[in-house]
Symmetry: D3
């Protein structure tokens, strides 16, 4: 059973990672932005889903010949077949993009299975093919070498680090063009709710600024007159 | 009063950062290219303007709650409202893009106020929105977290470092797709003049090379015959 | 005389760097992907050619005034005029992109002379112009400063390091959107042959996955039924 | 007038940076340890003093010839002559140790004038001579080049960043073999007081552990029996 | 039951990490040296023991208040009390030394409990105290902040990465002044045996070289005359 | 024939790298300090000698099995046997210390042959043994893995980069506890001469400062009274 309700998932589709970052900052969580990753394709809809994690450790040569994938239980392949619909696969590649975390075949399989996206703090191979999919993907930089070169897939769905952020299975993962935020599962509904309000206000502010208004008193909102204008504006939406 | 004349500003619009870098190299200034920044949108017209600087220091938690922006005198907000028309805001973010230097609302406000562009050696949030503006912006990488997470805005229009380059208020800032050059104020007219000449010659060279000429004797110009051809070509322009 | 046959060159045009990386991994060569470089323009046809190398060392100021280029024997200029048709120029810039490795004039000259592409583990200036050429180019990041600022061209066509990979003159250089692989000259035919087969199979797999097939038994191919399906599919091509 | 009382200064002489770090962590200040610096000489008494700051920006060649030091008002030299007795000079070298922040002559002068120590997030030249002084000094790594190579001294006693930490003039600087902590001025007395208590307890714990006691219930102190033993032990001191 | 026999443990006490590295290189294992760590105290006897691992992930603020240590089941404290006699605790700190991995109290407890040493790819606090113990310890650099600042202890004795090397529980950990090697458990006896031989030969070579012999024919041993001299020398030992 | 006269060599033995750095800075050479290296043993006499260089490129696995050293012509071994008496071997290890540049046997051989020292921008294995020799050695950090893991020795005595500095065979290499300076061969006599004067003056300054004199007017020397005192002091030496 998913802890991410449809309503909350829907809200996150219209909320930016920047807004969520500010919301979590106010709650004392200042380190939820995955550092060093970017979307393979810009301008896509938000990526929203629960974290399904995969942990890599450094590869030892004798344990990682090309033949390991013949093992039906190889964690990387198992993870791809188990990642629940609507989830985001998040891979702990130890910020090492010198070899790939995965390639287009596995990412396509994830897409077909209904995953909501994939994030690695390493890199993907076949990056052009992955970027062309109707699927959200985030990495550090393209990387042609097979993952066996430097990574051994070890654990499925355990707490990991990704881009210097703690990711627990079930955390809500939100991605846009700025990058990826990790929202602790127990805060997801609350954050979605608050951020919807914040987004409304930010839209108002942006409209005012585009119309030539100063940010003084407006952003943040300290001027009472503007506050009532916002009230009216909000009504109109 | 601006030290950047309209004529010089106009000239810089047709000069590349590469040409300026070579010109300053000849004058003994070898470290005027802001390292580690790139345009949020490629293919825009050159960014040209005088530097208006903003200095950040690392954020101490007790001094940087979300409420600080309620202070009308917060340096970041004051800077945005004071940056003169035609100037480029240059932010010293200590090359730390783990939190944002600013977001789309402030950048939009700068644009509306007539600023010529913005540069940080950190990162911007709302990067897709900023990239979509008709406004030049340069950073290291997108970054969703609010600036309060890691940065405290401190000083307005003091000499700073940005991307390992010294930036003095009033220096001329030139940006194209390669990145951003800092031209000392007192050299601006002279550099614009010399680079206009250099650009003319480079255009000639490029045309020759496209037509199959060897670079020997042409680039640099050591062949007398080619020199006179250049003379003729130049006349023709 | 070129060691890269037309047939092999042709094959590499349809093979990805990822496939080559896996092929070389199987042969015990795990470090042939040039780290830290990317194409200036995405979506181009593969870059294929033999390596023609250029070695830079750090620039000493007294040896690198702007006037050095007046010397017809300056190694950078000589290299550009000597790089054989169909070859890829590979520059050892010591992974230092703080100054340019070359600019649009030299790269255009290379293109006109029939070179197959250019790679540096530093950066190019005039990057927008280079990206607009019908020519493959790879670097770390744009960089406006003239190469004399930090680099002194020293040797032509000696073994070098580029992006932490050994590059010997004559090695086959293959580039796509993931980046650049270095294929030892003596393995080029064999790798092209094997990778053509691998690519065929990967195309089959991708088609199956797009059609909803699980990767179990398919990738890698351990299921006998799928194996015979592949046989049939292959016949059909 | 100094805000650091003699009593508090004295207390800090027996408190470790680790203890202070934990104390500040409890108060919500998690980023007060200057990253990347180490003592030039290990095993010295604690360094304790108020911060007197010096800000460097990147050096522009024309502003930093060797002759600048002939100016009696050069900020680096002025700072050395103005740094109050008992203060610690803290230099913002932008974490760049490729050129020196200062050398043995200036550091010796600081020592003779009664300064309590010096910290840079860059490097010192004449490091062997500085290490031999009866004076506390911290840097990243030795560096022979004169500071003019990369640094221009600009501001005296303004808020700075040093090793990714905000340092305000008057903050208390504490150094031991682990490195350097920055204690906000207004918290100095309180932190010194609390840490004195914490240190007492840690000494008790260490003694117990050395005698073979388990840390369970002891560290942290959750066992009531041990709590009363600590009470007795404390009495005995 | 330990898989590291007393005989093998004893042999490793006279074998250097360099010799082991060469031995493993010959067996195709080229990535067993933990990168980026050094001993807190030089000149100690070799550290030898089986790996007992501890995995950290990035700390999330709400899960890591100072009070967590009151939990008797906190993995860091449990690990210290469970680490078997003769084992080496190896901590995966994700190469992040900005906060401590542990401090002198826990390390002292480990020592008293008979552990053979401790390794982290992060840093220790109380580094002077730890260095003064009769106990082997390796880290990247001292770090005063409590581990809660950046690390959350999560798993005990699972496979981890440490300094870019895979470490499996039970692997043999060997440390000397060069750093730390990880020897796969199943190879320990064989490596100890071969390295004892190699060490004998290296001692002979060093003696010859100190006496003025050329390395030609001697190192490696290709000269038959020297081979028989080595035979005689070996007899004499 | 050596270009480094006995007289000049002798002078450099009493000159610091810091003084040389300032002297070369005045001559426009600002990048002659090898970045990122330190002595394996502090407190040794200055290292002085002409550069004898060795160039490494990245190792390709098939070209670098352990057996390559059986080849009497392997460049690393040849270099050790050819390095002239009184010279300093300088190795271009591409700033990569993840594998060793050399170990104690080769370094001992160099010492016995009369070399003046060794520098690598990588690391040495057997670092404790090397540090114990009566021989100057500089590296980045200890590294146990054999050089074959990452390095292939290629060229002897060609111009190289080492720690971001150009090193030409015959340049004078000067090392002290701050690190290593590279003095262009044609400037060696002149630099030694000027630095001897500068050192005399610095000694005078240091004596004055130790005696409580202000640096104003003294350092640099702008006060005429102090100038004449220096004259007298100098006479006395």
């Amino acid at each position: 059973m998913s802890s991410l309700s449809d309503a909350t998932r829907e809200k996150f589709k219209s909320i930016s990672t920047a807004t969520v970052a500010t919301c979590l900052f106010k709650k004392g969580l200042k380190n939820q932005f995955i550092q060093g990753v970017k979307p393979l394709q810009k301008g896509r809809p938000n990526m929203v889903g629960e974290a399904f994690t995969l942990r890599y450790i450094p590869a030892r040569e004798d344990l990682n010949p090309i033949t390991v994938f013949k093992d039906k239980n190889h964690p990387q392949r198992v993870a791809v077949e188990q990642c629940p619909e609507g989830s985001v696969m998040v891979i702990d590649s130890r910020k090492d993009a010198r070899a790939a975390s995965a390639g287009s075949i596995l990412v396509t399989r994830l897409m077909v299975r209904g995953s909501a996206g994939i994030v690695t703090d390493g890199g993907f191979r076949d990056s052009a093919e992955i970027a062309a999919l109707d699927f959200s993907s985030y990495h550090h930089t393209p990387s042609a070498p097979t993952n066996l070169t430097l990574h051994q897939a070890l654990d499925i769905n355990v707490p990991i680090g990704c881009g210097d952020v703690a990711v627990f299975p079930g955390d809500v993962i939100l991605g846009d063009d700025d990058g990826v935020m990790v929202i602790p599962a127990h805060l997801a509904d609350e954050v979605a709710e608050e951020c919807t309000e914040m987004t409304l206000f930010e839209n108002f502010v942006l409209e005012q600024v585009q119309n030539g208004k100063s940010i003084v008193g407006l952003y943040p909102l300290t001027d009472e007159k503007i506050r009532s204008e916002f009230g009216v504006w909000k009504e109109g939406k």
